[in-house]
Amino acid sequence: YSTFPQSPRWKKEDVTYRILNYTPDMLQADVEEAIAKAFHLWSSVTPLTFTRLYSGQADIMISFAAGFHGDFYSFDGPGGTLAHAYHPSSGIGGDAHFDEDENWTKFTNNGFNLFLVAAHELGHSLGLGHSNVYGALMYPIYMARDTRDFRLSQDDIDGIQALYGPPRESPALPTKSFSPQEPTEKTPAKAPTETSPQEEPTETTPSKTPIRPQDCDPHLTFDAITTLRGETLFFKGSYVWRKSPYFSDIEHDTISSFWPSLTAGFDAAYEVDKKDQVLFFKDHQYWAVSGYSIEPGFPKPIQNLGFPPSVRKIDAAVHDQNTKKTYFFVGNKYWSFNENTQSMERGYPRKIASDFQGIDHTVDAALQKNGLFYFFHGSSQYEVDIKNKKLIRTMKSNSWFNC
């Protein structure tokens, strides 16, 4: 964590705040709830109390504005800078400004979650600077996360308690349910925000994160593989191996470093290059991304693609850039999906072995590269020329990693 130079802080514990205006993107009640919930996050780990004022000068004045808005830091339109806030002091000190050119929401997709951004900005209003701990609330980059049971990271708590110390009496139990600090005037208690059906799944945080296998481990297997803008991404658990024509080494990443709100453990993935779109499959749902951004309206059920209800998940998928067909592999069968008509082709499913020479087992992952197909099964991969229905060779799954 960090603080501002000379670590400015409020020299009192009862800090006041006032909401000066609202964004048209959200119900006023949802804005008020997001702000109150954000204050509650900080009051639950410090002796601070936050009281809402409805007129006059409060310590922390909260407003929405676009472009130039009267301070030296104009906003920059959609994306880029989302908001900023000033460290504790008189006048503009403590104030938090939100860029009205953004799309504010109480969900975690289709825009920026106001609670998450407000909680971050109020950290500044209380005296915290940015943290370089990935996943900390005070990390400078926005990360869409499940807000239902959001918790400060230890780094955030260490930082704010370095300024204000711990709460007076430690709550018997961590306050799970959110009860906003009583404002000066009664506002009707609000039901906790219901989650939208499109609410991103909570990040599965395995109790013990398995370590990344070695690149050249001869037993290495993959969950899913896809191309992406000329690169190739190999997925296993939460890990990504990235092979790019733009740099020689294999880059090691995690799914959350590209798509923080997607859960680990894809079943399948494929790229529709013409649409600059990659689709990820997990259990009975699928997501579409373009670069880093998840397309609105996802996840969707896989039945949307035309699978019968009996199909609860798929093993692998690969898009044939020549025929514009996508092949989905489930058990010992496969489907052919026409990307142009967005519908499953008639006469499917068919047996994999009858059309893919030499592939007489299930498929973990599939890839098309330079016109040839690669089918991965366990630690082996099979290079197939499907035009001539010929199995060319069998290799280790990680032969792409210059082992």
Partner: protein, 80 residues
């Protein structure tokens, strides 16, 4: 992810603005400090890469540009 080549000049401009906003980069307006500017900018790129745990190269590689383009808070990451 890959950046379309002709965008490189644009990216450099973007990066300069980013480093001015968040890493206290100040470009010498005087042109004959050009080489000094380039070193100074490379230092600031290194500072940003180090903050985000990227490979510290001082160059605007694709990962560094990607990180700069992510939506973020408007407060600087380092304070003068």
């Amino acid at each position: 992810f890959p950046v379309v080549p002709e965008k490189e000049k644009e990216d450099k401009q973007f990066a300069k603005k980013y480093l001015e906003s968040f890493y206290n980069f100040k470009e010498e307006k005087n042109s004959f400090f050009k080489s000094e500017n380039l070193n100074h900018m490379a230092d600031k790129i290194r500072e940003m890469q180090s903050f985000f745990g990227l490979e510290v190269t001082g160059e605007l590689n694709h990962k560094t540009m990607d990180m700069m383009k992510k939506p973020r808070c408007g407060i600087p990451d380092i304070h003068s």
